[in-house]
Every structure is written in structure tokens, then in C-alpha cells.
Amino acid sequence: MAAPEPEAPTTAPTRAKDHSPWNWLLFIPIVVPLIPVFFNGDSPRVFGFPRFYWLQLAFILLGVGTTTLVYQMTKKRGGS
């Protein structure tokens, strides 16, 4: 959501930790739930729920899946 850090890179070997490309995946659960074309409709219904309701509830799983994936892929490996 912010511009990349403009400061000159200093001597910090740990910097790369948060700059994994996997982090970009997090924009999917930020952007997708904010596009009404996807969910603003009635059909198909699932268990009597119009699409508006079940699809937005399903986006929760999208969010959980993405944050879990990014966490697993970016967490520190090995010791330390």
C-alpha cells in the first residue's frame, strides 16, 4: 500500500527478510473482496444463500489461505 522505501540501503543484512516477493500475494485478499462485480448478484444460490452472501463469506477463506501461504513461505528457515 506504500511506495517502496526510498532510503538508501544501509548495512543491514537482515533487510531482505520482509522483502520477499511472496508478500505481493497479500494484495489478492485486499483487492478481490473490494470488487462488487464478483459478488453483487443473487445466483447461483448455495444452501439458500444468494451469491452476495456466500461468496463474500468464501473470501474469508481466500484471506486465510493467502496469509497462511505467505507466512509459511517467508518465515525464517533453520535456527536463529
Binding site: 506504500a2 544501509t10 533487510r15 463474500q56
Partner: protein, 549 residues
């Protein structure tokens, strides 16, 4: 009439007393060596692991007011009320990206509040003061709203009185108990109570969403009843789906509320209390369980329509209090003892966020007003003491808001609160990524964003009110030829950012002093066990390997 609800009142009171005892005992839970330190009282020793954080932050973000007001909104307006679901989906990836950095930099420098960070990052006590005041002003009405949650329950149980004092006495007692154990136990009290609160809420809602549709003829019938109600209403913007006019409002409100929620001091307090970065990141995958819960709770609004619930009258003649529909639905559909459990869930649900909010507001006052302007050399013990007393004052203020003012005033203030807390986004959230903005630019942007937000909110009319009628601003007011509406907060923060950027460019061209950044780039990745943390309660300050400017 309260005699009809005796079972409910007994169950409610029992559970309420149980958590009160827990609140006092919490002072001994994970007891620190020295409670007289703001890190201990105000942040639980910065030591909470995955489970505690999950309950604490969940209990913090999903407040009693949310549980009462969201279904009330669905009951009244339909699909537009469901914004709470995308709102609470979008927030977690944002926290994952942004607040983890705040945790790290705060961990290393011992920051307790977002304003502490801003002061250090931008070398500007004035900007920090503005951030602190914004936080306090936005939080106060939020605490008052928690009382409205309790009041809706009490009203349904028939616990009311003839005069203002008698009517408010139960709430005053409840808040006095809350204030006492928060004073004693600090953040440990809501952390411990959150276990009870959230367990009760999960049980109640799971039972409600399985049992009620079965009783009311299934989900298809529930949606059909809601659809029929909105078709019959004269309001063109309600319905079980969005229309062309309110889609933009829906998504901007969801995004704006998500951005606002994680800037609120109480959410930051919850995040800063966790033990390390991993705890926060793992919680971002686990906290959406509450969003699912909230989505189901929202649908209670439609169940109330299908069940034919008629809201109780409001405070002014002829009005109705939609906030009573969920308690009424439980009263009507559940056996008395279970309705009592459900009411306790809502009542206790108000205590956890109210405690955390008052702690967060007290920390802001202590760190960024008291220590900055009144007593520069305050010791950690004095800081903790001031915070404890301030938390009492904050709660008295919240109760006074409800007792002496029209509750509508608190609701208006909370609406404003979301818009004004968003104005701290450039300094706090973007500040975690970049120091490009000039401190004066941020101050000017904040002022313009605030002014614009207030003006826009003032302009919004609703069918019942001329001003402060909501947060959906008609774009036609800006001269656009459209009936679409947009969330005020998003417009205000966009203008805030634009102004901050322009002023920054101008000041930079004029070579105005920018101050010194007190943080280094790798502060934003520090984790538990980092050797360079500055002095804390039981840490050594002398292990700093490099100067922290």
C-alpha cells in the same frame, strides 16, 4: 416487567460476576517482577503468545457494539450492512504487511503508542501530540458505544427505570467494577476475560445459526422474508443486494474502515502486546475465524426480519431502537437460560474492548502528553501510575457521555472517530515504510483532512436528520452528475495525502529542516531476542551494538 426475565437476569449476573472476579485475579496471572511499569500494566509485559493474542485481539476488534449494530444495520438497510465482512477480510493482510513493522520498531525502541513512533520517526513532538489527541478523541466515543451494547441487553431484560439515574445505575455499577479491575490488572484483565467472552460468543452464535434457520424455515425463507421487507419499504437503497448507487460506498467503507481499525490505538495496543513477529503473522491467518462469526451475526438481522421481531422504542418519542433486535430475537426464540447466556456474551463482550480502549487512551495521554509536556523525567513507575488513573478518568467520561448526553451523540462521534483516525494514516502507516514526507507536510495534511472530513460528515443528511446522517457522501455535492455515494473517510485521507505530498515538495525546495530520523531501516525487522532493544523492565540497555540515533 423485569420479573418475566428473571432466569435471564440471574444467568447474566452470574456470568458477569464470574468475569469480574477473573479481572481482579488477572493481576497475578503471568505476574511480572515489577507491575509498576507501563510495559507491564499497559502492554501485559509484551509477552503474549499465539492463543492469548488471538483471544485478546479478537475480543478487541469485534466489540459488543459490532455484534449489536451490524445486525441492526442489516435489519434496517440490508446488503449495505454486510460491508463488515469485506472490511474484516481486508484488514488482516494489511496488518500482516504494516503492523508487523510497527511491532518491530516499537520492540526495539520501547514504544508504547503509535504517537511514540511518530515522534521518533519524524522528530516532531507536535505531530506526535496531534496523533495522540486524534487517538484519544476517536477512542472515547467508541468506549461509550460499548455501553450502548450493554444497554440494549438490559433494556430487553426489562431492567429500566423511571428516571435517568435509575435507568443507568446497572451500567454505572458494571463500569465501576470494570474500572477497578482494569486499574489493578491492566491489560492482563481483558486478556484473561477475553477467553470467556469469545467462548460464550462462539457458542451462542453457532447455536443461533444452526437452530434459528431450522426454526424459521431455512435460509431460503429467511432471505425471502428480508427481500419482501425491503421491496415493501420506500427507501430505494435498501435490499438484499447492492444497487448502482451504493456499491462505491460499500467498497470504500469496507476499505476505509479496515484502514481505520488498525490505526485505532486499541488495536495497536493488542498487537504490541504480542511476544514476537511470528505470533502476529500466525494470528493474521487465525483471526478471520471471527470474520466468519461476524458474517453469521450480521445475518441475525435477517433472521429477526423472518421472525417478525419489532424493535423496542428508542429514547425519543416515535423512534425505534434497532439495536434491540438481536437481544429481542434471542428472547423470543431461545429458552430463558440460553438467552441469559447470550446476553452475558454481549455484556462481557463490551467489557473487553472497553478495557483495552481505556488502556490505549491512557497510554497515549501518559506517553505523549504527560511525559512530553508535563513531566519530562517521569519514571516508569510514575508513568504506570498516571496511566492507571487516566484509564479511570476515561471510563468516567464514557459513562458520562451515555448518562448525560443523547446516545445518538456517541454514535455520531464514533462515525466521526473512524474518519479522524484515518487522518493518522500518512504519519503512522506510511511512516512505517517511508520518511519521504516532511513533518510539517504531515501536520498540514492532517489539518486539511480533518477539516474536510468534518465538513463532509456535516453535509450528509439522512431521512431523519439534516446533518451527520451517516458516512455516505453524495458525489453530486462535489458537482458530479451522479447519484453515487462514497465513504467520507477515503476522500478525506486522499486529500490529506495529496496536501502532505505537495507541502513536502514545497518545504524541501525551500530547504526547511526535516529533523532527524530516530530509527534505522533494520529496526523494522527486529524480532524477539533482538540484542539492540533499548531499556525495558527486565532487559539490559547496555547491549546496544549500534547507536540508535
Amino acid at each position: 416487567m423485569w420479573r418475566d426475565h428473571l432466569t435471564e437476569i440471574i444467568v447474566f449476573s452470574f456470568l458477569f460476576l464470574l468475569v469480574s472476579v477473573m479481572g481482579f485475579v488477572a493481576a497475578r496471572w503471568r505476574a511480572p517482577k515489577d507491575m509498576a511499569h507501563l510495559d507491564e500494566w499497559g502492554l501485559g509485559g509484551r509477552s503474549f503468545g499465539g492463543w492469548i493474542t488471538w483471544f485478546l485481539v479478537g475480543g478487541d476488534l469485534y466489540t459488543a457494539y459490532t455484534f449489536v449494530a451490524v445486525p441492526a444495520l442489516m435489519f434496517g438497510a440490508g446488503a449495505a450492512g454486510f460491508f463488515a465482512v469485506p472490511y474484516t477480510i481486508v484488514i488482516y493482510p494489511l496488518v500482516f504487511l504494516v503492523l508487523v513493522r510497527l511491532w518491530s520498531v516499537s520492540h526495539r525502541h520501547g514504544f508504547v503508542t503509535p504517537a511514540d513512533f511518530v515522534r521518533n520517526r519524524f522528530d516532531s513532538p507536535v505531530l506526535a501530540l496531534l496523533i495522540a489527541i486524534t487517538g484519544i478523541v476517536a477512542t472515547m466515543p467508541y468506549i461509550a458505544l460499548q455501553l450502548i451494547g450493554i444497554e440494549a441487553v438490559l433494556k430487553t431484560m426489562g431492567v429500566t427505570g423511571d428516571n435517568a439515574l435509575a435507568r443507568h445505575l446497572p451500567i454505572i455499577i458494571a463500569f465501576a467494577i470494570l474500572a477497578a479491575y482494569t486499574y489493578q490488572s491492566g491489560l492482563r484483565a481483558p486478556a484473561l476475560i477475553a477467553f470467556v467472552k469469545d467462548s460464550l460468543i462462539y457458542i451462542v452464535i453457532l447455536v443461533a445459526v444452526i437452530y434459528l434457520p431450522y426454526k424459521l424455515g431455512g435460509w431460503g425463507d429467511i432471505f425471502a422474508a428480508a427481500d419482501a421487507k425491503f421491496d415493501a419499504s420506500p427507501n430505494p437503497n435498501d435490499g438484499i443486494l447492492l444497487n448502482g448507487n451504493n456499491q462505491l460506498q460499500y467498497v470504500t467503507l469496507a476499505l476505509g474502515s479496515a484502514l481505520a481499525l488498525f490505526l485505532y490505538p486499541h488495536s495497536i495496543t493488542g498487537v504490541l502486546a504480542s511476544r514476537n513477529r511470528d505470533v502476529i503473522k500466525r494470528n493474521m491467518s487465525a483471526l478471520p475465524a471471527y470474520s466468519l462469526l461476524l458474517g453469521l451475526i450480521a445475518l441475525l438481522g435477517y433472521m429477526a426480519i423472518a421472525a417478525g421481531v419489532k424493535p423496542l422504542p428508542g429514547n425519543s418519542a416515535g423512534s425505534v431502537d434497532n439495536n434491540t433486535i438481536v437481544p429481542l430475537l434471542f428472547d423470543q426464540q431461545f429458552p430463558d437460560w440460553f438467552a441469559g447466556v447470550a446476553y452475558a456474551a454481549i455484556g462481557i463482550g463490551a467489557l473487553v474492548p472497553a478495557a483495552i480502549m481505556s488502556i490505549a487512551a491512557a497510554n497515549l495521554f501518559t506517553r505523549n502528553i504527560y511525559k512530553e509536556y508535563l513531566k519530562r523525567d517521569a519514571s516508569p513507575a510514575q508513568e504506570a501510575n498516571v496511566s492507571k488513573i487516566t484509564s479511570l478518568v476515561v471510563k468516567v467520561g464514557a459513562v458520562a457521555c451515555i448518562v448525560f448526553l443523547d446516545p445518538q451523540f456517541s454514535i455520531d462521534l464514533q462515525l466521526i472517530g473512524g474518519v479522524i483516525i484515518l487522518q493518522t494514516l500518512p504519519a503512522v502507516a506510511l511512516g512505517l515504510y517511508t520518511r519521504w514526507f516532511h513533518r510539517t507536510g504531515l501536520i498540514v495534511g492532517w489539518a486539511i483532512g480533518m477539516g474536510l472530513g468534518m465538513w463532509m460528515l456535516y453535509q450528509v443528511a439522512s431521512p431523519t436528520r439534516k446533518h451527520f446522517g451517516g458516512s455516505a457522501f453524495p458525489l453530486s455535492e462535489f458537482g458530479f452528475d451522479t447519484t453515487r455515494t462514497i465513504y467520507v473517510g477515503i476522500v478525506a485521507v486522499a486529500v490529506n495525502l495529496a496536501v502532505a505530498a505537495l507541502v513536502t515538495l514545497a518545504l524541501r525546495a525551500a530547504k526547511v529542516d526535516e529533523g532527524v530520523d530516530g530509527t534505522t531501516p533494520d529496526d523494522y525487522f527486529a524480532d524477539e531476542g533482538d540484542p539492540r532493544v533499548t531499556a525495558g523492565p527486565d532487559r539490559d540497555a547496555d547491549s546496544a551494538r549500534e547507536p540508535v540515533a
